[in-house]
């Protein structure tokens, strides 16, 4: 399984390189959006397994091995970021680099963090499979690197498009969203498994659905905290950033869709007890969350930098194929 995943990941990197070369810079931030989404899912699922391990949560156990096994895909992301580095010209600070926002340092630190996350996951899972005591140490290291990597994805990849605007919650917001996406993906996997083995996987499905419900509320709290602070303060340094994403069309309509897709609809759909075990509401909620995430990143990025829709669609599918193949794989496949 691991070899197949690694092969698929390598193929995805090569295909993405081909797409980026074909577009020759016209793709803009398309690869960033695709990487943000798939990295959030992959890193989020591994982070969920790590958090469940450290807190001794038992609900996760039937899915644990399968979700941890996605870690080889994490090695694709540093390579993909290096592929993206050819498009750094979209960032406004490239004209006047500073000590922090300088092209070489920018690429090196982000690629290094993505690599560290992948290596930490690898060390943890390898130690875990051997039953080594160092597993807990590497598990903690993975979570640290996950938090720092996601935070820098927020501050460096997205927030710096509007430099010198700052939003201190942005980093935490991104890693909470990564966990949110991880749970949505976990719910879909649990649903697939529950069809074949309901006794074992239905409790996992119910718990995953409850977590989607809880995270919908948590997400809403985070986005509200950001919006309220900026709206209320109404200071020129930051209110313009929100204004052009909320009051200017089509971004305003997209923002409303994000709110519906990531909070209102999953909350409303999953509030009923019966909905937490039925496939249709769960697929709908998980799908909406994922769609909402992509549109939200577009709302953040589009007013400041271009995203070629065809490049985005191609890279989305290319990067998604290995993830989808892995998640839909049969549960009996032993980890190699």
């Amino acid at each position: 399984m691991s070899k197949r995943v690694t092969t698929l990941a390598a193929a995805a990197v090569i295909l993405t390189l081909a797409v980026e070369w074909a577009f020759r810079g016209a793709s803009g931030m398309a690869l960033v959006v695709a990487v943000l989404f798939w990295a959030a899912i992959c890193q989020g699922m591994v982070a969920l397994a790590a958090a469940a391990d450290l807190s001794g949560a038992r609900w996760f156990l039937p899915l644990r091995e399968h979700l941890m096994g996605i870690y080889p895909l994490l090695f694709a992301f540093p390579a993909l970021f290096l592929v993206f580095s050819a498009n750094l010209f979209v960032y406004p600070w490239m004209e006047h680099p500073t000590r922090w926002l300088a092209p070489n340092f920018f690429v090196i630190r982000n690629a290094a963090l993505l690599l560290l996350t992948a290596v930490a996951a690898h060390l943890w899972i390898r130690a875990d499979r051997r039953g080594a005591r160092s597993a807990k140490v590497f598990c903690t290291l993975y979570l640290f690197s996950f938090v720092v990597t996601q935070s820098l994805m927020a501050f460096d990849w997205v927030m710096s498009l509007e430099a010198p605007w700052i939003n201190t919650l942005f980093g935490a917001y991104f890693f909470i969203e990564a966990l949110y996406l991880g749970i949505a993906a976990t719910a879909l996997v649990a649903l697939l498994r529950a069809r074949r083995d309901p006794a074992r996987y239905r409790p996992v499905l119910v718990d995953a659905a409850k977590l989607i419900f809880g995270f919908a509320l948590l997400w809403a709290g985070q986005i509200f905290a950001q919006y309220l602070t900026i709206w209320y303060g109404n200071i020129p340094e930051e209110v313009g950033y929100v204004y052009k994403r909320v009051a200017v069309q089509p971004y305003g309509a997209m923002a409303v869709f994000v709110l519906l897709a990531m909070f209102v609809l999953p909350f409303g759909i999953l509030v009923a007890r019966a909905a937490k075990t039925h496939p249709v509401p769960i697929v709908a909620a998980a799908g909406l969350v994922m769609a909402g995430y992509v549109v939200e990143k577009l709302v953040f990025i589009l007013p400041a930098a271009p995203v070629h829709p065809v490049a985005l669609a191609l890279e989305f599918v290319i990067l998604g194929a290995p993830v989808a193949c892995y998640l839909c794989a049969r549960p009996d496949a032993p980890p190699s």
């Binding site: 509200f224 919006y227 309220l228 709206w231 209320y232 109404n234």
Partner: protein, 145 residues
């Protein structure tokens, strides 16, 4: 006549309860007291789900409505512009409405609990009826003593 079965052990208690129901004793003739909540009792005795959900839903809806109605109503009643904010400043009113949703939802749920459980049970308080640490089944056999 009331026949009483007392148990220290939960498994033995549940087994006896199942036996009684299976042997044809109507659940309404059985009164069960336990030292803690035992989910299985509700399945065995076919108890209807609690109506408490309705109180909670009503309370939360009332709180949400009251929160928005009150804030928007008072703002429109005396439209004072403060801090450059609009008269109907919805982001700020969401917070008040959210808190009142929880407040009304919680308090009305509690009142619903008291109502559905018939608390305070004045006859029981006056009589000083006790409940022990055992699992007890009381069967009303319907026979004369």
């Amino acid at each position: 006549m009331i026949r009483e079965y007392k148990f220290d052990d939960k498994a033995a208690f549940l087994h006896q309860l199942e036996e009684l129901v299976r042997s044809g004793v109507h659940p309404r003739r059985l009164t069960v007291t336990t030292p803690f909540h035992v989910h299985e009792v509700e399945h065995i005795l076919h108890l209807r789900p609690s109506w408490l959900k309705l109180f909670t839903l009503f309370g939360a809806a009332a709180g949400l409505t009251a929160g928005f109605a009150f804030t928007i109503g008072t703002a429109l009643d005396w439209p004072l512009r403060t801090g450059g904010k609009p008269i109907v400043a919805l982001p700020t009113y969401i917070i008040v409405a959210f808190e009142l949703t929880i407040l009304f939802g919680g308090v009305i749920s509690f009142l619903g609990f008291l109502f559905l459980s018939r608390f305070p049970d004045i006859p029981a308080i006056v009589a000083g009826t006790e409940c022990g640490p055992e699992f007890i089944i009381r069967e009303d056999t319907g026979e004369a003593v």
